[in-house]
Symmetry: C2
Subunit: 184 residues, 2 copies
């Protein structure tokens, strides 16, 4: 069984995903024991890969951003039209990810001190993408605010709205990227 052999990177990834699942199962504030059990590894083994609980959660954060960026890039339109980055972000935000955008996961990550700096890095990266996107600043601002709002709503009001509502909102935002000039 090749899967049984030692393999640090693989174990590391499995621990991170197990952490996400354990977070959902046990709520924010899971114990390292629970994560280790979910990952099928001993607590000692877990702490070998992540020396502290904070480090583990920071690993989760990095994985989170990586996934989002990968999704955005996969949704980029091939032609270089105005608003293509913004549209990719819109589609990515509306792509549900039950595992990684679960309230418990995000709540846990919000309490990690490292979040601030990584968030700043990610925010400037995203801003660069949308700043050179050819959209009127007013539109770009409004759309990015709305996308943040959709993210927040996913955390607090999930299943409060129908998937039809969601599609309407998404289509509206997409349409807003297809016109030039100011909004008002």
């Amino acid at each position: 069984m090749p899967g049984e052999q030692r393999n640090a990177p693989r174990t590391r990834r499995e621990v991170i995903e197990a952490a996400a699942r354990a977070l959902i199962a046990h709520g924010p504030g899971v114990s390292l024991d629970a994560v280790a059990k979910e990952a099928g590894v001993s607590k000692g083994g877990l702490l070998h890969h992540f020396r502290t609980k904070q480090a583990l959660l920071a690993g989760l954060i990095d994985e989170w951003f990586d996934r989002y960026d990968t999704i955005v890039e996969s949704l980029l339109e091939p032609e270089d039209t105005p608003g293509r980055w913004t549209r990719a972000h819109i589609r990515a935000t509306f792509t549900p990810d039950d595992l990684w955008s679960h309230p418990s996961v995000v709540t846990a990550l919000l309490g990690v001190p490292e979040l601030q700096q990584r968030m700043d890095v990610a925010a400037t990266r995203w801003r660069q993408q949308t700043d050179s996107d050819g959209l009127h600043p007013q539109r770009a601002d409004l759309i990015s605010r709305a996308l943040d709002g959709v993210t927040l709503a996913d955390l607090l009001w999930r299943d409060q709205e129908t998937s039809e509502d969601r599609e309407h909102t998404r289509d509206l935002l997409l349409k807003l990227t297809e016109q030039p000039g100011p909004l008002v």
Copy 2:
């Protein structure tokens, strides 16, 4: 000294405000000890008013919504013009409240199970206010999303943006309430 006498409602309020301060000082996951000390009351006294930690945080949640609603009502325009509720919400959202909208406080509240139901109640109340507001649904939807986004940004990217940016966003949203008809 009249302030030193026993007074249950006052102590209760003081405990709640102390909880907010302690949350900011010690991060989410403050101990009851720390809250009690901040409130100038013993731990037993604290637990006399809130039988569990959850109950204390639930009290914080209620206070939070009460304050927001009070602010919204104080910002309502006297004349019954279309969009007046929406504009009040916009102004309220852009009214900074360093104590109550601090990341640590919100993070702590996000972990409280009771939040969900109280959030649902508040959400339907706000929706009723803005549904009968005379705005085109598209506009109402977009604006409320953007407001959620501003709230989220306050939590994650505070001082990442200038107060000038904030004002521009606020003015844009306000202007969006002053026109009838669809956006696109």
